[in-house]
Symmetry: D2
Subunit: 111 residues, 4 copies
């Protein structure tokens, strides 16, 4: 089964944790800390690059693989945290984006 | 149009940025920093709670709304970063989970 | 009394927490989360700046004041965490720097 | 020479960077990212521990050594960032603490 949707990944991560009896460690506090740790590892892959180098990092086989791996870790902990909290991530993102659209309306230039 | 999939949210965030001419600010370095900033705000919502309190935080209308808002900010920057880098987030998560399954195999108890 | 040394700041932060009976919240986990939250706020002050703009941020009265405030929050939580753990921060930094000097020796160019 | 004060550590970190010609990489943005990365590694050492386990982590020789090493990395990048920005860390901490004392005055209970 290919994983095409976020909810499929969420289910797989849940099954992964339950199969190893790891739910006991998966309090929201712990998962938020783990998420921050993985974001830190992602930052570490980019921290010494110039903005331009960071824009082409995926072209470097080694650096690109590491960035992809860290993004993988980040999404895994994010979906797990959202799952444990019972929050729909995509819905939360959509709602926040609508908020931001109101706070930062597109300037309609007329001349 | 309801947003049901991560790629729809990704497209909306991309359109949001382009409509405001913000792509210039959206280097991978900057987006990674923004992601870390939002994860920091998420941690701030949980930092003084006990593990048990964190497990029921969504039942508190105010705290729950703030946690949902921060999760929304986190997923927005994560999909934007992945989009700019050209990385499929769900695919990266699936691959990393498979890695972890090999490194942490389920103990098969036989009796 | 002017605060001239890190240990004086550490003592002040300890007294601040004890006067408000906040030690109960100051487990190392919670303090580490708070530290990450404040580092996130620091990143947020720099995330949209170019590297050059970030180098001169302290010249802007408003942005500079916000950066100084965030650095203040970061050092406060860092000394508090180290204090609760019983770790001498400066000593730990000195030891890690010596480690790094071994791993990254200065190239002595001879010609 | 023993390092007894934060400014001595700051000078050593500056010399370390200059000896390796690394100032070019030490923009405030990059240093803030590196700081966040090291705080992430610190969180990773505590994320699966209970609050009680985190309170005694320094008693475990291996875990304690790793926590000390991460605190060392954090203070190194923090003093380097403050140095590059020209901010006095202890002074910034003192000022922020005074702020917080005003916002969170100690309740004087009278009965």
């Amino acid at each position: 089964m290919t994983v095409q949707q976020l909810d499929e990944l969420t289910a797989r991560v849940r099954a992964f944790a339950e199969a190893r009896d790891w739910q006991q460690f998966h309090t929201p506090k712990n998962l938020a800390m783990a998420l921050a740790g993985e974001v830190g590892e992602l930052l570490a892959e980019l921290q010494w690059l110039t903005p331009e180098e960071s824009a082409t990092v995926m072209q470097d086989p080694d650096a690109g693989a590491r960035v992809r791996a860290e993004l993988g870790d980040v999404i895994i902990y994010l979906v797990r945290l959202a799952d444990v909290l019972g929050v729909d991530l995509v819905d939360a993102g959509r709602a926040k984006l609508a908020d931001s659209a109101r706070r930062f309306p597109v300037q309609t230039a007329t001349s």
